[in-house]
């Protein structure tokens, strides 16, 4: 077991590292980035931007450094300058980047004009980057500075301001889904092919067939816009609290930012996520419960005269725990990552929304920080799942 754990932890670290490298490389090759606006200004000729200005701006985003150097500075905060041992500096003349690249405009095979880098006018040496502002590395808890969303403010500020909202939303939703979804799944398996099972299966299919954004929009229409137009009580949608005080018929005045206001705003997104989750999870539980109910030991338990309840609660349920563990464990990354689509629809200021904003706005330090944390949590969840499996079902051996 210990040997297995050690090996798994090492593997997990490798997985996180590779996925970090892959996504960092992917993002840095994505066109756009913080310099795309600059190029436009230059082409329009509204402002005079010298080569020196561009070099300075590139340096401020670290774009003048080579990719591996940049990655290593992002991950662990080195290199920050030449290696100093006993007062002497080593490797000071190693080239780590290019301050002023030579660019050429070419026409590619499809007839599109492209600007590519063909050489380097002025290189950056290791000794040049001494004293440059740098993060201490994401491994040591420093996520660096945001490029766009909160310009030059730490990414951690952004995350801190949003994480309570996501915890609120996903935490409540997960709790509700577990409380409702699991009994539903078990009941529908025990009463397979009953009327309840048919109705429930249809509803669950509808839940999983409905894209979550469409579902969210429908909810806004049905519970917010239409009743509001008709003068009936409605549930406010959008943001996590309102900006101005408002009045809802029957419920009365709501003060912006009060507990009542925030509860009302929480209702719709939680409802959407809960319904969708119940649809998926309970099908999952139902399937594994059905599988267990067909096993011989369940028949044996019934044959020796145990009551239906004991058979289900003691014999079947424990063996159907495996999918339950999978579900619960993978809510961990969900709690941090939020719900990208639902948060977007309800303009919920949480982590999922932040990720989309960061990607759309080329704020790559933010996007990378979120992706990195998310992959660490996912890997931890996977590890936890495998360990819990052995506890729930001793027949599963880890080796």
């Amino acid at each position: 077991m210990t040997a297995y754990l050690i090996r798994r932890v090492l593997q997990s670290i490798l997985v996180v590292f590779i996925s970090a490298v892959a996504s960092y490389v992917l993002l840095s090759f994505a066109p756009g980035g913080p310099l795309s606006g600059l190029r436009q200004i230059q082409q329009q000729g509204r402002f005079k931007i010298t080569e020196e200005d561009i070099a300075r701006i590139r340096a401020s985003f670290e774009l003048d450094l080579n990719l591996p150097v940049r990655f290593s500075r992002w991950l662990i905060g080195v290199p920050r300058g030449p290696l100093t041992i006993g007062g002497k500096e080593y490797f000071g003349d190693v080239v780590v980047g290019c301050r002023k690249p030579i660019e050429a405009e070419i026409t590619n095979s499809r007839g599109v004009q492209e600007i590519i880098v063909v050489g380097c006018k002025e290189e950056v040496l290791l000794k040049d980057i001494v004293g440059r502002r740098t993060s201490r590395g994401i491994l040591f808890g420093d996520f660096g500075l945001s490029w766009r969303l909160l310009r030059d403010r730490p990414v951690s500020d952004l995350i801190e301001s949003r994480i309570p909202k996501t915890l609120q939303l996903i935490g409540l939703e997960t709790l509700l889904s577990l409380i409702i979804g699991i009994p539903l799944g078990i009941y529908s398996a025990v009463k397979q092919y009953s009327r309840f099972d048919y109705v429930f299966t249809t509803l669950a299919f509808m839940g999983s067939a409905m894209p979550s954004f469409f579902f969210g929009l429908l909810f806004i229409l049905i519970f917010s816009i239409l009743p509001k137009g008709a003068g009936l009580p409605y549930i406010p949608a959008g943001l996590s609290e309102s900006v101005r005080n408002y009045t809802i018929p029957w419920i009365g005045d709501v003060i912006a930012g009060s507990a009542k206001d925030r509860t009302l705003h929480l209702m719709l997104p939680v409802a959407v996520l809960t319904i969708l989750n119940i649809a998926g999870w309970s099908r999952f539980i139902r399937a594994s419960m059905l599988d267990v109910l067909r096993q011989d030991y369940v028949r044996t338990a019934r044959a020796k005269g145990l009551s239906q309840n004991v058979v289900i609660m003691k014999h079947a349920l424990r063996n159907a725990l495996i999918p339950f563990i999978t579900i619960v464990v993978f809510t961990i990354p969900g709690l941090f990552g939020g719900a990208i689509i639902t948060e977007s629809i309800f303009a919920w200021p949480g982590m999922g929304r932040l990720y989309i904003l960061a990607l759309g706005d080329y704020d790559y330090p933010v996007a990378m920080a979120l992706f990195f944390i998310l992959s660490v949590l996912t890997v931890i969840a996977t590890l936890l799942r495998d360990i819990l499996y052995t506890i729930a079902d001793p027949r599963i051996r880890l080796h």
Binding site: L26, A30, G32, A209, F213, L221, G337
Partner: protein, 332 residues
Amino acid sequence: MTVPAQMDNIKAEAITIEERSPFQVVMMRFVKHRLAMVSMVVMIVIFLITILAPYITSYEVDELNVNNYFLPFGSVDQDTGRVHYFGTDNIGRDYFSRLIYAGRISLTVALLSVLISETIGILVGAVSGFYGGWIDSVLMRFVEFMLTIPTLPLLLIISSMLLRNENLIPIPEAVLKSVGSIMLLGPKDARNAILIVIVLAGFGWLSSAQLMRGTILSLREQTFVEASRSLGATDVWIIFKHMIPNAMAPIIVDASLGLAGFVVAEAALAFLGFGIQDPIPTWGNMLSATQQYMFDKPWLPLVPGLPIFICSLAFNYIGDGLRDALDPRLKL
């Protein structure tokens, strides 16, 4: 003398209980699943409509009816007398025509994604399960690695990168042309659609590979494989002739559920702005483009939203029906 003759008759009757091929059995069971049959009919109708798109619609996909924005259902164009069955959208394009063409593109994307992801999944799963050993370890560790990465965030990174830099993955001209002709798109637009297929299939094959491997592992120990090997069959022969056909049942179910998943996934990508881009219509991007009108003109998002819902539901039911029909443990 008549008695033996009678006996013969009885015997003949007893033996000639209708013999059914496995295919017939599966079909009979499938037909019994009423919702799956209804879904099948619905999907055939939808497929027919999208295949006949150019004959049904009277407008081009990107034909602008200038100054006629947000026309109501069934309004008639003054100049040409053509009918906008579903009105026009926010920039005056015929909504009905776009919906039909979008269906063609969305369904093709889903079908291609399923086709590619299942093919890769079958091959990887079969090789991994059949050979075992280090090949199995390497392939399955890779699959697990891909599955441990949070999918949607990575999907967004990759599609944003591909969409902003379309030449990154070279696609042969012939593929562009043939896919373009299925989707009724020019080669340049087809590239956009194919990139999304690649992104979707690139993540879709993982689970089917695992599924396939599991099935193969149990098949490998069966006696007919041993028999085949003792007759001198090669590995390739055994994999393609014995393994894959015998493992098709779960794969077919997986594929039909996958279709549902890909229709929704394409729409979700489009909704987040990382899918197939606007002048090309898909159900997903029609929905995301019109969702801002949800509140004053709710039919605009509802019209493309409904087919996504219907198709996904239908594919789910078909998958469920197939699962019941193909499961040898279930008896009628």
